[in-house]
């Protein structure tokens, strides 16, 4: 009998929907049907059925081909490579559970590595703005239950977070928002008429890259001053209309995305967005939230903050203390300056998502990919180590875009012999300790560790 598993978490976007239903085969090895998920989530679960999924590490041979090797050999190679490197870079964690992110901390400390995650090329500027200005935010349930004015600034959830608008932000009927979309004023700020902009009551089609000026105009108006007839390509009357809508609302919610962080201004765009939110709180209730891209990309920011005090760009190479200085210790900058001599790509695809120039730089040195699937990074790696897929054949804690921890379940039995990220990092750590003749330092007594170190 196939089994229907309910309230499954979806390991794709930052909405981290946990209402997915997955029908799995009797033997627990195949996904048969996926309900409630968006098209992306649907594909993701079905892709786990792919019979060509790698089950053993593969090491590049002198002739350029890849050859399967055992996990023992792969762990040994990784441990030795990390120890030999002066400043290895461990990057990624877009598709990893928090257990893995916690375990990698030990490895990174031991290796004197730089530990960085995808925020470095995504919402990193948002962190910079938060360091400077704070972050008045809320959970997504507050948006659903209260928000009557929702602003999407430089983000396009209809494409990047397909169920965001139906679960949280535009359509749902919440406790104090019984009329759903009818009760909400939707504002979109985007240089394109995106599919989210088409849903908006007001769309500001601003000149691309002029976000700061438009934020500034809203602040100026809200503080009772005059603005020029046109700002960032937007007419004054239209700006006044939006400012009035925000001021009159009971609860204003501002979502912002890559349109702010990927373009000129970077953190300054987010900084002034936060200032606008602070200003709005003198008139009404207002909150702001970064549209985090992956289902657990908020996770490394949390885990590493409690372990090292910083969310990303963490340089542990000094040995005595962690050091963070984006621009200096950020992955792409380190790569472009040739400051790292080993690259470990974990649960992401730097091969596809970094500018190709940066990829060429890190490829000068040993390049290891830890990821369940084949991807661009795995295909240029010296070593590819497959792991279980968090959220599909491995459970664990993930942090949604509002930093709410959600406990994901596994829906499939893992591939035989393939470890989870956490198990793999623990094996690498133990191997590094053996090679350096040091005692491993586990968090609790050995018998209290979460998982056994031997893969069954």
């Amino acid at each position: 009998m196939p089994k229907l598993i309910t309230q499954v978490g979806c390991p794709y976007c930052g909405s981290s929907c946990d209402d997915i239903e997955v029908l799995v085969s009797d033997d627990g090895k195949k996904v048969l049907e996926v309900h409630n998920a968006c098209t992306i989530g649907n594909n993701l679960f079905h892709h786990a059925n792919d019979s060509t999924r790698p089950m053993l590490p593969r090491k590049r041979q002198p002739d350029g081909s890849m050859k399967e090797i055992s996990y023992d050999e792969a762990v040994d190679y990784t441990a030795k490579t990390l120890l030999a490197a002066k400043k290895p870079l461990i990057f990624g964690f877009g598709s990893t559970n928090c257990e893995g992110m916690s375990a990698v901390g030990r490895v990174a400390e031991k290796a004197g590595a730089v530990l960085d995650n995808c925020a470095s090329i995504c919402h990193g500027p948002s962190f910079l703005a938060i360091f400077d200005n704070g972050y008045p935010s809320c959970t997504l349930g507050e948006v659903k239950n209260r928000a009557d004015c929702v602003v999407f600034w430089g983000c396009n959830p209809m494409h990047a977070h397909p169920r965001h608008t139906s679960r949280y932000s535009i359509f749902p009927r919440g406790f104090f928002t019984q009329k759903g979309q009818m009760q909400r004023t939707i504002i979109s700020v985007d240089p394109r008429v995106s599919d989210t902009a088409k849903l908006a009551d007001i769309h500001y089609m601003l000149n691309q890259g002029h976000d700061y000026e438009l934020f500034d105009a809203f602040r100026t108006v809200l503080r009772g001053h005059d603005i020029p007839d046109e700002v960032a390509g937007i007419k004054k009357e239209q700006i006044l209309q939006g400012a009035e809508a925000m001021k009159k609302a009971r609860f204003v919610m501002i979502f912002f995305g890559m349109g702010c962080t990927h373009t000129d201004g970077r953190n300054h765009n987010v900084d002034i967005a936060i200032s606008l939110t602070r200003d709005l709180n003198t008139h009404t209730k207002a909150s702001i939230m970064a549209m985090r891209g992956h289902y657990n990309i908020a996770g490394p920011g949390q885990v590493w903050s409690w372990q090292f005090g910083f969310p990303y760009c963490i340089d542990l190479s000094k040995g005595s203390h962690a050091h963070m200085n984006p621009g200096e210790t950020s992955s792409v900058d380190l790569a472009m300056r040739d400051e790292v001599d080993c690259f470990v790509n974990v649960g992401t695809d730097a091969g596809a998502h970094w500018p190709i120039d940066a990829v060429k730089h890190v490829k000068k040195h040993p390049f290891i990919t830890i990821d369940p699937n084949f991807c661009m990074a795995s295909e240029i790696s010296d070593l590819h180590i497959p792991v279980r897929i968090a959220g599909v054949d491995e459970g664990g804690v993930v942090y949604r875009m509002d930093n709410v921890p959600i406990q994901f379940k596994a829906v499939l039995k893992g591939l035989t012999g393939v470890p989870s990220d956490e198990e793999l990092f623990d094996m690498i750590y133990e191997r590094m300790c053996k090679l350096t003749l040091t005692e491993p330092i586990w968090l609790a007594a050995l018998e209290h560790r979460k998982y056994p170190s031997v893969v069954s």
Partner: protein
């Protein structure tokens, strides 16, 4: 596990009324025992003080708002850890909001065995337990917040104590929590609309219930369930001039309630960080101490325990579920401001703060905290705390002990104030000669908080059968140092600390990660169908997380110590 014998120390154990007797403490298999064999490892404590492991009744050490404090304050890492080790232990970072590793290490270095995480937003339970898991050595528990919870307000509005209790029992169980925390009752719920409740009778928007009704209702529910700890409250109108009046009004609500539990607890209300609630005046200009008025009341009422919340005059990070207060504070100091409103449950705010000795109000706040401790007639009901990190980081406990034990140290600090005379005018500290004894300090940091938490059979004393958490401090009981700095130094870095029967600290250096436990309360009562139906319906309609993903999973608290509470139907 090995046997250990701590020989010839000056033992201070208020649970057995032992005050400085030279005696041995024997340890076997993680417990204190009467005797050990000759094979026991001997620790020479001659000329040193021996106490049970410290018990912290209230600190923010794990969870979402603590981590916001870490994440958004890289500058807090500029103050490098002076005690960080080089011997392969985990990296340490953060001053006012230390990393989980540093938290565990620094508490252990101070000889603390147990720390209560003071506010757990239920929706973020998994986060709290993940951090507790990553905090080495110390035992921890966490108090879920209830004072602004929709279910609680709804049931209490209808006068349904039994349903309130059934909901609380369920929530404590699924969050692996410890008891009932209340923060700015009603006020935080009002903050969801940008409002607050500043008096006991301000109604909460929509719910139309008052802080007074919430406080009384939760105390009744607590005793209905017979939990180990009492209701633990952060009162309304924190931090404002003149708030001692509402503080006294709130404390008086405990008068009609009787404790009912099997854990030896005698109070029905724990009023936390009392320093922030003991202010007179009606503006910052005539701001003054009302510590005497508040402590006079506390001293006479056995139904109340308090912790001090002493200001330590540091640059720190304030963080509380009192969302409207943080917004208000942000308008005073104009620094960065974080806020998280949590659906149906609570909120939180985080703002950095500098307690500057050149500012009059900060000096007065410093005095108020210490005055509360010095006016206490029952140190077993008055506990050392800083509301870490709100009034200062927990690594200042030894400094607070120094101030409480030495008038000389207090005067030395007063002398550094820019507005010394104005601080003296607005407080009583300058005229107070009391110097607490080591015995009283042991009550305020060990036996007292353990009893208040209903954990007196495990922590806070050295009687056979109790947990073998023992600190050895380099202080000569018979010949206390004339320099009060030596007191702080001794308590900051224990000569030796044994946690769960294992030596984890020697001369202030961490030697092992020990055996930590997560302590939680399992309230067993017959299932209440109405409450379960309400919960199910609310998760379907109002929450954004599935009900089956809400209870924290067992593996996240992998070394539990579970306290069962049976509630008669």
């Amino acid at each position: 596990m090995a046997e250990i014998l701590i020989k010839n120390g000056f033992v201070i154990d208020p649970t057995r009324k032992i005050d400085g007797d030279v005696a041995d403490v024997a340890i076997k298999d993680g417990k204190i025992v009467d005797t050990v064999s000759s094979a026991a490892k001997v620790i020479d404590a001659k000329g040193k003080v021996v106490m049970a492991g410290g018990v912290d009744v209230h600190a923010h050490v794990a969870g979402p708002k603590v981590n916001v404090g870490r994440l958004f304050r890289p500058e807090d890492k500029l103050f490098k850890s002076p005690m960080a080790q080089k011997n392969g232990y985990r990296m340490e970072s953060g001053f006012s909001v230390p990393s989980t590793f540093k938290t565990g290490y620094d508490y252990a270095r101070m000889g603390y065995a147990f720390v209560m995480e003071a506010a757990m937003p239920p929706l973020f339970t998994a986060h709290v337990h993940e951090e507790i898991h990553d905090t080495p050595i110390i035992d921890e528990a966490a108090l879920p917040v209830f004072g602004n919870n929709w279910f609680v307000m709804d049931y209490l509005k209808k006068g349904e104590i039994e349903n309130t209790a059934a909901y609380i029992a369920w929530l404590i169980r699924v969050t692996k929590g410890f008891g009932i925390k209340v923060v700015n009752p009603g006020g935080t719920a009002a903050w969801s609309w940008g409002l607050n409740c500043l008096s006991l009778d301000d109604p909460v928007p929509y719910f139309e219930i008052t802080p007074r009704e919430i406080i009384i209702g939760l105390m009744k529910a607590n005793e209905y369930l017979g939990l180990p700890h009492s209701m633990h409250i952060h009162q309304n109108n924190l931090g404002n001039p003149g708030n001692y009046a509402i503080t006294l009004d709130s404390l008086k609500l405990a008068e009609g309630i009787k404790p009912k539990n099997k854990f030896g607890r005698e109070q029905v209300m724990h009023s936390t960080h009392l320093q922030f609630h003991s202010y007179g005046g009606d503006s910052w200009a005539n701001f003054e101490s009302k510590a005497k008025e508040v402590m006079d009341y506390v001293n006479q009422n056995k139904g109340i325990t308090v912790d001090l919340g002493c200001v330590t005059l540091d640059e720190t990070t304030t963080m509380t579920a009192d969302g409207p207060f943080e917004h208000h504070l942000n308008h005073l100091n104009h620094l960065k401001w974080c806020n998280v409103d949590v659906e149906l449950e609570t909120a939180a705010g985080v703002v950095p703060y500098v307690y500057d000795k050149n500012i009059k109000v900060c000096g007065i706040q410093w005095a108020v905290g210490l005055e509360l401790g010095l006016y206490a007639t029952d140190p077993n009901r008055t506990f050392v705390s800083t509301d870490h990190p709100n009034a200062g980081p927990f690594i200042r406990y030894p400094r607070i002990i120094k101030w409480l034990m030495s008038k000389k140290a207090r005067e030395a600090t007063l002398d550094t104030f820019k507005y010394k005379d104005k601080v003296i005018d607005a407080t009583n500290i300058h005229s107070m000669d009391r110097e607490l004894t080591l015995y009283e300090i042991a009550q305020m940091t060990r036996s007292g908080p353990a009893k208040c938490l209903g954990l007196s059979n495990i922590y806070g004393g050295l009687a056979p059968g109790m947990n073998a958490d023992v600190g050895v401090f380099d202080l000569n009981y018979k010949n206390m140092p004339s320099d009060p700095e030596m007191i702080e130094k001794a308590f900051l870095r224990a000569a030796c600390f044994i946690k769960s029967g294992e030596i984890v600290v020697r001369d202030g250096e961490v030697l092992g990660h020990g055996h930590k436990n997560t302590i939680w309360v399992n309230v067993k009562m017959p299932e209440n169908p109405q409450v379960m139906r309400d919960i199910t319906q609310s998760f379907t309609k109002d929450y954004t997380v599935g009900l089956s993903n809400y209870p924290v999973r067992d593996y996240l608290a992998p070394h539990p110590f579970v306290i069962d509470v049976d509630v008669e139907a």
